[in-house]
Amino acid sequence: MLIWVMFKMALRSLLTHKLRTFLTALGIIIGVASVISMISIGEGARLQTLNTISKFGTNIITIKPGQKKSRHVTTGKVDTLTLEDADFVEKNISLITGVAAQVYRSAQLKFENKNTNTTVRGTGASYARLANFEMDRGRYFNNEEIRSAQRVCVVGSTVLKNLFEGINPLGKTVKVDGKNFLVIGTTVSKGALSWYDPDDQIFIPVTTAQKRVFGMKHVQSIDVQAEKIEDLETIKEDISRFLRQRHNISEGKEDDFYVQNSAQWLNSWGDAAKTFTYLLGGIAAISLMVGGIGIMNIMLVSVTERTREIGIRKAIGAKKREILEQFLIESVLISFLGGGIGILLGIGISRIVSNIGGWETIVSTQSIILSFGFSVAIGVFFGFYPANKAANLNPIEALRYE
């Protein structure tokens, strides 16, 4: 009963100073809104990335070149993997269904008077299958074209849009860093991430890429597809053992390559993204704290202004606890109000970010409950000192206060 009356009184006193209440709540509004929108952006980025990564298949093992070490001195060059390593893996490792070596670099593409910068990926014939690229038109290059390092290319859908709007690209010639390539196929769009568009690339035979475009002898990664996910560990061990042998790495020395499967990569990416989310959330939480200090400040002013009122209440029989509660209710009400508006604003911001910025955002119930609970806790924490100050006022002095 009394608590309801106190609530009404608190509301009335907040409504008397609408602008002041709004400005005080603004700190909390901004804090909660930023916590919610930051976490939603972080979570969205994380889940979207994990989805896309898992699209590449979880039965893929990737071998990446490591740093070559001579006498404990790291040379910094990462050119320990070659096409021959890829062939060797394909021939000697069992339980696998495909191997695709890759080299990639960004390059300028030119078709008639249009140009674009894109990733040029040199791959083996089975890459399209391993990386889940489906052909839209034409075909992927075959082993024969790879062996003879033909200048043919398969175009991703983003590049297609940029260079060949409204034109059938098959049979056309495109210049890659000034060299002519014949377009023999296009791929079906996979959909872009905000930071990575798998369709913004062209594929050329790995040999052509090494000899005619990039001028390199090594490969940058080798994808190995396992027949069954259960065999992943066995295959990884086999690859390590065979490659160590092939690279003449003696017992006790470190590998000059890394073998990872996409599940591991998925996990480590997920962890990194989570850290990123926490970081964003943490920064936002600081603004929530600042909002709390704003509440304390205004409540202190309010207590001073209302000294006489406190005196009256005490004279007619309000106990210390009841004065304390009254002021606490006020500060919690501010943070409650701010928290509520902040949640709506935060959801709004994340909607806007996903609509305009193209980032996927996920507003989790957890982040709402967390930030709302935190803001109410801040109301209690920062409201306590002013409320306690009010509760401890001497009634005689408070009544005399002008």
Binding site: L2, T16, I312, A315, I316, G317, K320, I396, L399
Partner: protein, 227 residues
């Protein structure tokens, strides 16, 4: 009803101890109407604060309805103020943002009394302000505000009403009306203690206590003042 024995209050003013009330004795029976008079600094405000349980004496005994007030803790004092004492101040001291009815209801809320709105409305009726129940203090005249304050003091049926210069901020006509209200209430059996410096006001009460320098110098019954 009120028994005061050797009641003293000293304040620490820097290095010096100032004796605001110096060994006061008196008793007040139920149904009395007492005026306390005296120049400023005579200790009448201090006495009112002690009688109103807003402050504790430095020494002596204050017994209100057989309760030893000087031994109480702050929360118990708050309860006594709520239950047994009604305050009427010179400057009304109403909550500016609350309506007349809400101001009147407040002591009942702190006392957790049921049907508080009804009782508060009856108290407003008693002081003739039922028609102004929904108005805020700023919308009321000085006399009306003081009536609301009296309604608030009455609402808990307290043992005593302590009025500190209740007519001090009012014009003489309104002041007379307020004083008449106190007289009526007293005739109905309410004990009233009133601080005033107007002899005219004091003469209408049943008993006058005169103070100077923290002591009672005169305590006269029936309004017959021996100067």
């Amino acid at each position: 009803m009120i028994e005061v024995e050797r009641l003293s209050k000293t304040y620490q003013m820097g290095e010096q101890k100032v004796s605001a009330l110096d060994g006061v004795d008196f008793t007040i029976e139920k149904g009395e109407f007492v005026a306390i008079m005296g120049p400023s600094g005579s200790g009448k405000s201090t006495l009112m604060n002690l009688l109103g349980c807003l402050d504790l004496p430095s020494s002596g005994i204050y017994r209100l309805e057989n309760l030893d007030i000087q031994d109480l803790k702050p929360n118990q004092l708050a309860e006594v103020r709520n239950r047994s004492i009604g305050f009427v101040f010179q400057s009304f001291n109403l909550l500016p943002r609350a309506t007349a009815l809400e101001n009147t209801e407040l002591p009942l809320l702190y006392g957790r009394v049921a049907k508080s709105a009804e009782i508060a409305f009856q108290a407003l009726e008693r002081v003739g302000l039922a028609h102004r129940a929904k108005h805020r203090p700023t919308e009321l005249s000085g006399g009306e505000r003081q009536r609301v304050a009296i309604a608030r003091a009455l609402v808990n049926s307290p043992a005593i009403i302590l009025a500190d210069e209740p007519t001090g901020n009012l014009d003489s006509t309104t002041g007379k009306e307020i004083l008449n209200l106190f007289l009526e209430l007293n005739q109905e059996g309410v004990t009233v203690i009133l601080v005033t410096h107007e002899l005219e006001v004091a003469q209408q009460t049943k008993r006058i206590i005169q103070m100077r320098d923290g002591k009672i110098i005169n305590d006269t019954m029936n309004g017959v003042l021996s100067c």
